[in-house]
């Protein structure tokens, strides 16, 4: 038997025909070596996975009661809220779950940025992460259209109109997306179809992401490679239990929003049925899009704004080559680690600008913050990596965590 853990007769019968138990054991069990120094920032990946499952489960339930028709969508959501047993809970779990999913993924991405997890040999792992992020944005955007309130309708109008910025074919592409001459019933129905599909695409992407992870293995807070078995611990039980703590925290936070503050992250305007003749005075996307919305509005040119907003995400694909430092973890990079925190604050400023009307000093602040966003990748990453003198790296993970003596003993 290739897998000593499988002792039960029935399990062995299965294992010889479909080696599922050894697969699980090699993926998240005792056979998966994990750097022993992973901290709680490494919990966000599995939390994002839990959030995805939660979205799929609550989404399937919502789809049993929701009607994807321009005349009935708004009322069917009200029906879910008022008449369906626990419908309010399913919907609040789904809408607040989407927000927390983004919180988890944003922290997960900043973790990668800080500890240099995008650098060799993890470039493809990083790429699949960005693809997941893009698919999540598309899914959340289309989901937000489904209740067919004023923000749904006008958010959809503003976002889909970005395609009219494409030279020559823009109008035709937009009409094709809409299935008409404006956002209307046909648009809602196709968005529902795609909103149902995309989470499963995300699921598939997540598997490829994990496949790449299990090939290159986890990075760690020191950013140095695993050198011996002494540097690792088996995933189970050490990190299964550690991840469970993260799940607990996630569910406590989710419960707070769902049961005590369910509409805080939404917009009151979305409880007004969609009206194609009246635009709400102040259109804002969901909070997780705000920094990108600020970048869109920073440019006084339509195509330029759309291109820059897209570029803000696409640039993430090339940072493995923009960052010239050979040291992964910013812990050992005295200058870059400061720039990292400036970048975080800059991102928050972009979000704040995105939430406010594009007028007065917000325009100027938005432009400076947008310029800085790109400068971080295009200037700071290559230049700082080139002249900065990193702090000395520890000999090994074990040496750093257990103290030099213990590590030497083990050798």
């Amino acid at each position: 038997m290739s897998n000593p853990g499988v002792t039960n007769q029935v399990m062995q019968w299965v294992e010889t025909r479909l080696p599922i138990f050894s697969f699980i054991n090699h993926s998240v069990g005792t056979e998966y070596p994990t750097p022993r120094n992973l901290n709680y920032w490494w919990s966000l990946g599995s939390i994002a996975g839990v959030a995805l499952v939660l979205q799929i489960v609550t989404g399937i339930v919502l789809a049993m009661h929701y009607v994807p028709h321009a005349d009935m969508a708004f009322e069917s959501v009200e029906h879910i809220m008022r008449d369906v047993n626990y419908g309010w809970m399913m919907r609040y779990l789904h809408s607040n779950g989407a927000s927390l999913f983004f919180v988890a993924v944003y922290i997960h991405m900043f973790r990668g940025l800080y500890f240099g997890s995008y650098k060799a040999p993890r470039e493809l792992l990083w790429w699949f992460g960005i693809l997941i992020f893009l698919a999540m944005m598309a899914t959340a955007f289309m989901g937000y259209v489904l209740p067919w309130g004023q923000m749904s309708f006008w958010g959809a109008t503003v976002i889909t109109n970005m395609f009219t910025a494409i030279p020559i074919v823009g109008e035709a592409v937009t009409t094709w997306l809409w299935g008409g001459y404006s956002v209307a019933g046909p648009t809602l129905q196709r968005f529902f179809s795609l909103h149902y599909l995309l989470p499963f695409v995300i699921f598939a992407l997540m598997f490829i992401h994990l496949w790449a992870l299990h090939t290159s293995k986890s990075n760690n807070p020191l950013g140095i490679d695993v050198k011996s078995e002494k540097d690792t611990l088996p995933f189970h039980p050490y990190f299964t239990t550690k991840d469970l703590v993260g799940f607990g925290v996630f569910f406590i936070i989710l419960a707070y929003w769902v049961f005590f503050n369910p509409n805080y992250m939404g917009h009151p305007d979305n409880y007004i049925p969609a009206n194609p003749l009246v635009t709400p005075a102040h259109i804002v996307p969901e909070w997780y899009f705000l920094p990108f919305y600020a970048i869109l509005r920073a440019v006084p040119d339509k195509l330029g704004g759309v291109a820059l907003m897209l570029g803000a995400i696409l640039i993430l694909f090339v940072i493995p080559w923009l960052d010239t430092s050979r040291v992964r973890s910013a812990t050992f990079r005295p200058i870059y680690s400061k720039f990292f925190w400036i970048f975080v604050v800059n991102g928050l400023i972009l979000g704040w600008v995105g939430a406010n009307p594009a007028e007065g000093s917000f325009i100027l602040i938005g432009r400076i913050a947008t310029a800085y966003y790109f400068a971080h990748f295009i200037l700071v990453m290559p230049i700082v990596g080139w002249f900065e003198k990193p702090k000395p790296l520890p000999d090994s993970i074990a040496a750093s965590v257990l103290g030099d003596d213990t590590a030497k003993e083990a050798k």
Partner: protein, 182 residues
């Protein structure tokens, strides 16, 4: 025999089987290509959406200085009964610096009736300025609150991120008090 020609093949090494591979591949590619178009085109506006393409209305009840909004192809259309003053500014501004150059005379059939698609050419919001209580922007026409585009009394873009003037839909005067849009 000095050369070994594969059975059923030619001396350059190509075989009947190579031909079959390429022919099969090519036919499959053509077939898949043909099937892609219906998959793509099904998303274009359907026949019933295309059929809702014209709107008629009575404009005799719109006083000078007033404006109404009607629906055409799911979009708002602005019908504004312009005042003499608004017409005069629109004509004077023909020579102002315009991001999207157009003469007022080319944007109307009858100077007092300005008929426009009420969709901001930036990202599609409905600009304010139809009701007397709404802000009309710095140029007295319309103001789009979404990202701050200002339109003048000819519906031309004067300031803000929108690239083009408000569109003029196709319309005809059926008689002095009726128009048909579309």
């Amino acid at each position: 025999m000095t050369t070994t020609t594969p059975e059923g093949g030619h001396e350059d090494g190509a075989t009947r089987r190579d031909f079959l591979y390429i022919a099969t591949g090519a036919m499959s590619a053509v077939g898949a290509g043909l099937f892609v178009w219906p998959l793509v085109d099904q998303m274009n506006p359907s026949a019933d959406v295309l059929a809702l393409a014209s709107t008629e209305l009575d404009i005799s009840t719109i006083e000078v200085g007033q404006a109404i909004t009607v629906m055409w192809r799911g979009k708002p259309v602005f019908v504004r009964h312009r005042t003499a003053e608004e017409i005069a500014t629109a004509i004077t501004d023909d020579s102002a610096s315009l991001p999207d150059v157009a003469l007022d005379a080319d944007r109307v059939q009858k100077a007092e009736w300005l008929i426009l698609i009420g969709v901001c050419t930036h990202l599609g919001c409905v600009p304010l300025g139809q009701k007397s209580t709404e802000v009309k922007g710095e140029f007295g026409g319309w103001f789009c609150p979404c990202h701050g585009s200002h339109y003048d009394t000819s519906g031309r873009i004067r300031k803000g991120p929108a690239p083009n003037n408000l569109g003029v839909p196709p319309y005809i005067f059926l008689d002095d008090s009726h128009i048909r849009i579309g």
